[in-house]
């Protein structure tokens, strides 16, 4: 560097001009290619979100269908005992049931008898890889949540978790490509971690079970899904896997990298 090239003072204008020039001189990859990938990414995330809501609807549809079957069975039993009921009238509720099933769009749930057993097993396997849906409300005064966890799970929504007389917990939902994670913070520090984990189970409507405690971290399961709890800033906190292939080691890594 020569003396005459050296700015005598570092002025705001020099910095501003340097940044403008830098941003103008950069040569990014073709914009069209990047845009296509962004569009695909947005579409993929929308589909995942839709799949999550479809999952809810499916649970509701199954519950409604089961309820309908029970109601119709009761009606059937009552009608069997009533010999005077004409057969033609028995068809009416069945047609109504058929129509209702169609309205709920459950046709893809109907499977041939020989496949039914396989589907049950598949459904059971699915049930252990995802937390059942739980109720949340929007958090009116959320704490500051990180925008991303390990650069792969992104903040989606701040929620409030409630369960009867238990204190409410702050929660944040994080979505990755295939994974979904819940980060929970208690509102005060008076709870023991064991109580926090037990209460958390009630908040997310999944039975929770403490597995072990190592170096201040408590490993637990909620409906078979891995979770990790710890105390920080006088708060109980926990990460629970809602769905997707997140191992306990990955939870440890996420926890270690939290700001």
């Amino acid at each position: 560097m020569t003396e005459k090239n050296k700015p005598e003072q570092l002025s705001d204008e020099f910095i501003r001009e340097a940044l403008v020039r830098d941003f103008e001189s950069v040569e990014p990859p073709p914009a069209d290619k990047s845009w296509r990938r962004i569009e695909a990414g947005l579409r993929g995330n929308d589909e995942r979100r839709q799949a999550w809501f479809t999952g809810w609807i499916r649970y509701a549809a199954i519950a409604a269908a089961a309820l309908l079957v029970i109601v119709l069975s009761s009606v059937g039993i009552m009608q069997v005992t009533d010999f005077a009921t004409p057969a033609v009238e028995e068809e009416a509720p069945m047609r109504a049931a058929d129509e209702e099933m169609e309205a709920l769009d459950v046709e893809d749930m109907e499977v041939p008898e020989e496949e039914a057993e396989d589907v049950d097993i598949a459904a059971e396997e699915e049930a252990v890889s995802e937390l059942p849906p739980f109720e949340t409300t929007a958090d009116p005064s959320p704490p500051q949540w990180q925008e991303a966890l390990n650069d792969s799970l992104f903040f989606e929504e701040a929620v409030l978790l409630s369960a009867g007389d238990r204190q409410d917990y702050h929660g944040a939902l994080y979505y990755g490509d295939e994974e979904k994670l819940l980060w929970v913070k208690s509102k005060d520090d008076r709870e023991e971690t064991a109580t926090f984990i037990e209460a958390l189970g009630e908040h997310i409507q999944a039975e929770s079970r403490q597995v072990e405690e190592i170096d201040g971290y408590t490993y637990f399961e909620a409906a078979g899904q891995p979770g990790l709890a710890w105390q920080e800033d006088e708060q109980n906190q926990a990460l629970v896997v809602i769905s997707g292939p997140v191992s306990i080691e990955e939870l440890e890594s996420i926890t270690a990298d939290l700001d």
């Binding site: 940044l19 990014p28 991303a148």
Partner: protein, 191 residues
């Protein structure tokens, strides 16, 4: 992009509006990512992730005219997290910067000025990500300390001290005296 057009696009957030925003901010966003990551491939990935994240969370942006700065924050945070995860903080790499003065017929005075600006530019590129982030937000996007604090979730005091340290570092890099007299203007103290 005009402020009104920007506001409209942010509020609408449909495919056409997203495309407009992408075209307006693609180069700047890539520049931020590249200056932190020093890898074209990673900068490309981070730029795309930043746009996706921004479009999905655009409802969280209260002042639509600050879209560019907000996107820069998302981008730099993603890039910093990437480095943190990869544990490859590599901000002392040197890179050859094209000489902006070469294509024009400058006078000796303006040529010298250009060389000085390029040196500042090189020094900025060597800042650590935290310092680079606040410098870009204050000097390029012209945000106030409070606005930077709100975007980065930092107190104004932390932002001020980060800006001050960034400028000190630039001064050292440019072999200027660390004496505050050499840190001309109001940098790091703008309210």
């Amino acid at each position: 992009m005009e402020p009104e057009e920007l506001k409209k696009a942010v509020r609408k957030n449909d495919n056409d509006s997203r495309r407009l925003l992408f075209e307006a901010y693609y180069k700047k966003t890539y520049a931020v990512a590249y200056n932190i990551l020093r890898s074209r491939e990673n900068a490309e990935d981070i730029t795309q992730d930043a746009f996706i994240k921004a479009f999905q969370n655009i409802h969280q942006l209260h002042d639509e005219t600050k879209f560019g700065a907000w996107l820069a924050v998302i981008t730099s945070n993603l890039a910093r997290n990437y480095l943190k995860r990869e544990k490859r903080i590599n901000y002392t790499d040197q890179e050859v910067i094209a000489d902006g003065a070469s294509e024009a017929d400058y006078t000796e005075e303006s040529a010298l000025l250009n060389m000085e600006v390029d040196r500042v530019r090189r020094a900025i590129k060597n800042l650590p990500p935290d310092h680079y982030q606040v410098i870009v937000l204050q000097y390029y996007y012209d945000l106030r300390v409070e606005e930077i604090g709100a975007m980065l979730k930092l107190s104004p005091g932390t932002v001020k001290s980060r800006l001050h340290r960034a400028r000190q570092r630039l001064a050292r890099e440019l072999e200027l005296n660390d004496d505050p007299a050499c840190l001309k203007d109001r940098g790091g103290e703008r309210e």
